[in-house]
């Protein structure tokens, strides 16, 4: 799909999000969460390019969310909290990345899982500070110094999420077509060759890992600003699994995939929960199974296939 078409689709999607959020107030929340998760999944997409699956990416989501929760008391300004949270996630991503980029495939996935489970345990353990599973409530925050309340605040976070989604989506798209992006994809198919071309695969992967951490950080900060309550469950391995789930649901073929997948996932979950409150998980599982078996390219693959056929 050409760059113009993709950009057009992205803007169309953004407009649709705004329209939906305006028409259906409760969807504002769901869509903001979807965009936030989409940002985290965009990072998963980067790692998937290199053929690596992180089963602990939720670590960075949780890290950022807790950064917002703790720093929110000191500087209750969304536009400071968000970059701060992304920075913290990115820095921790750098420290952990230096270690995990030496591993591939299941070891990469499991090490990430282990580290996120350790963080989960730490959040539970230091309950005197974190209140454990009860979580931390985030007080009201300002936007550019403006104290917004109720609906205005929801719109502000949604707007922020949209801007970040479009921005990071564009950045990732550009980067994936750069020599770095193609080398990243080369890690998946022929890592050895990169070495013999003078390229350090670990450094290539590390850049992706740190970027993915920072994006997950943005996602986590947005989730914290939206739900205004953070719990250790954000770091649990099933949250990471959910992110990978969304990546595949949306399709790894385009930067729009993660957002498409996240929206589809959140809406499916909400409607499944409304329809069959005690078996929504089964519905989601069946949807995922259907997508994998019948549309391995994900929802994005379906769209492009439909266009080709038309």
């Amino acid at each position: 799909m050409s760059r113009r078409n993709e950009a057009l689709l992205a803007l169309l999607g953004a407009a649709l999000v705004v329209a939906l959020a305006a028409a259906v107030p409760w969807l504002r929340f769901v869509l903001t969460i979807a965009l936030a998760k989409g940002l985290a999944v965009l990072g998963i997409l980067l790692l998937l390019r290199a053929g690596q699956v992180s089963f602990g990416h939720a670590l960075y989501v949780a890290l950022a969310a807790y950064t917002v929760a703790f720093a929110g008391g000191l500087v209750p300004e969304a536009l400071l909290l968000l970059p701060l949270a992304a920075l913290v996630a990115g820095l921790v991503g750098l420290a952990i990345g230096l270690f995990v980029v030496r591993y591939r495939e299941i070891f990469f996935g499991m090490l990430n899982l282990a580290l996120s489970m350790v963080f989960y345990s730490v959040l539970e353990k230091f309950y005197a500070i974190t209140h454990g599973a009860d979580g931390i409530r985030i007080g009201p925050v300002t936007f550019l110094g403006q104290r917004l309340s109720g609906e205005a605040a929801e719109w502000a976070v949604l707007g922020l999420a949209l801007v970040l989604a479009l921005g990071f989506g564009a950045l990732v798209r550009v980067a994936l077509l750069s020599p770095w992006g193609e080398a990243l994809a080369g890690i998946k198919t022929r890592e050895t060759r990169l070495d013999f071309m003078g390229i350090a695969p670990r450094r290539v992967l590390l850049i992706a890992y740190v970027a993915a951490s920072a994006m997950a950080g943005c996602g986590g900060a947005l989730i914290a600003l939206t739900t205004r309550h953070v719990t250790p469950a954000l770091a649990y391995w099933t949250t990471s699994g959910e992110l990978v789930f969304i990546a595949i649901l949306g399709g790894a073929g385009s930067v729009l995939g993660p957002f498409l997948g996240a929206a589809a996932y959140e809406l499916t979950r909400v409607y499944a929960a409304a329809l069959v409150a005690n078996a929504w998980q089964m519905v989601l599982g069946i949807v995922l199974l259907g997508v994998i078996v019948f549309a391995p390219g994900g929802l994005w693959g379906l769209i492009t296939r439909g266009r080709k056929a038309a």
Partner: protein
């Protein structure tokens, strides 16, 4: 499922509408402001409960009770002549899901009340939402005392006690029946409740009986399946008392593994939540252990306010679900009862008209409503005043599981943190007279 058909149809239509993606077809927003004050066709109640995960051992009985009681209310003509309909949402997926569902319940389903929730995290997240979206919300089962001690809410009310009286009652009972114990170990689940409840217990114990030796503080992982190391350690340390505030599958497993290893022969267990496990573990739990029920809930309550009410509740539940009701059933019954009393009070205050959300919320302040065993009063800060019943296990031929004897019913006012105080501070001001004033025990009959 009560009203399930309508509910499912409504959801389907919404999905069809969303599928069409025509913004015009998306008139999904909830009750409009104009509708305020008009008498609704039905009272819709959103109920957050655990339908998946380990806590569904409480969530599903809670849901069953709600279905049963909503049926009863509708059979009797509804509340103030209006039928009621529950809409259940699952707490299993976590706080962000519940917060989203809360918004959907209010903004899309247009519920008149919300019952939230079992998880303390969900309650902490939902209480501010209640004020933000201005929808009366009854906290029906969560335990954390932080909610009304740290904040004030105009729309959120708790229809039961909280962790402080629940744990304090167990400690007072222990001090009454075993005043000379010198050592204690704790085996609690490693998460907020396990830690918080131990904090409350320890703080109060250090105030009322300083110098007790704490032999071990063990916090196995939430959902742990193997307690043998913990049990071995406690067997070796031989503390006189073992406290565990665990619940659900964890508590069942702990009781059974402790029983298999004869730990009950060496130490007396204090289990403030074990009433909910009695029917499942059966007589694996020996006599002589101290058991609580997070309230005065016990289907064999020795002195219920209205014996007929308790008997009817127990029998109906038992005939429908083939089990005796456990504490989440009673908590749900209290929420339903509070809803009924609150709506009736608000409607009466309006001279038969339908109240606004604010008027309905205001009706809950100071509300006194009947529970299956007694009455509960909602204090000015939103906290419910609920009595606590603690007893000792006894094996009787009449039941295939242990029953309670030497039951003490603690009046709520004596053990609940006063309005405006924090539990952590209040517990440090307790005096030994409190133990002396513990009401007389009542035997199993």
């Amino acid at each position: 499922m009560v009203g399930g058909g309508d509910h499912a149809r409504a959801a389907l239509t919404r999905r069809a509408a969303l599928g069409a993606l025509g913004v015009g077809g998306l008139a999904l927003s909830g009750r409009s402001v104009q509708a305020q004050g008009a008498k609704p066709a039905e009272i819709k109640v959103g109920i957050a409960t655990y339908l998946s995960g380990p806590a569904s051992v409480f969530g599903v009985p809670g849901r069953q009770t709600a279905e049963m009681l909503f049926d009863e209310i509708n059979a009797a003509g509804g509340i103030a002549g209006i039928k009621v309909r529950p809409i259940f949402v699952d707490e299993g997926p976590g706080v962000d899901h519940v917060v989203g569902e809360y918004r959907r319940l209010v903004q899309s389903e247009g519920v008149h009340l919300v019952f939230a929730a079992i998880s303390s995290a969900d309650c902490i997240a939902c209480a501010p939402l209640a004020d933000e979206l201005k929808r009366p919300t009854l906290l029906w089962d969560c335990g954390t005392q932080r909610i009304f001690e740290d904040n004030r809410y105009a729309y959120a009310f708790r229809t039961q006690a909280n962790a402080t009286p629940e744990i304090l009652a167990a400690l007072l009972y222990l001090l009454k029946v075993k005043p000379d114990f010198k050592s204690i170990a704790v085996i609690n689940q490693d998460y907020a409740w396990g830690r918080d409840s131990w904090d409350i217990f320890r703080t109060a114990m250090n105030t009322l009986k300083p110098g007790v030796k704490i032999s071990a503080e063990l916090f196995p992982r939430f959902g742990a399946t193997d307690f043998s190391t913990e049990i071995t350690r406690v067997l070796a340390l031989r503390p006189e008392v073992v406290l565990s505030t665990s619940w659900g599958g964890d508590l069942d497993t702990l009781i059974r593994q402790a029983s298999d290893r004869k730990l009950f022969d060496r130490s007396t267990f204090v289990m403030p939540l074990a009433e909910s496990s009695l029917q499942r573990v059966g007589k694996a739990l020996p006599a002589g252990q101290i058991v609580g029920a997070r309230g005065d809930h016990w289907f064999l309550h020795p002195s219920p306010e209205d014996p007929k009410r308790l008997a009817q509740f127990t029998d109906t539940y038992r005939s429908r679900f083939n089990a005796y009701p456990i504490y989440p059933c009673f908590h749900m019954a209290q929420a339903v009862s509070a809803m009924k009393a609150g709506v009736e009070k608000a409607v009466a205050a309006k001279g038969g008209g339908w109240p606004t959300d604010a008027e309905l919320a205001a009706a809950f302040k100071g509300l006194r409503f009947p529970s299956p065993t007694a009455s509960v009063t909602i204090r000015e800060d939103g906290q419910g005043l609920e009595n606590q019943l603690i007893g000792t296990t006894l094996h009787s031929d009449r039941f295939p599981f242990p029953v309670l004897t030497d039951m003490v019913v603690f009046p709520a006012e004596t053990i609940t943190t006063p309005v405006g105080q924090k539990s952590a501070d209040w517990l440090k001001t307790l005096t030994p007279e409190m133990v002396a004033k513990v009401p007389a025990a009542q035997a199993f009959q």
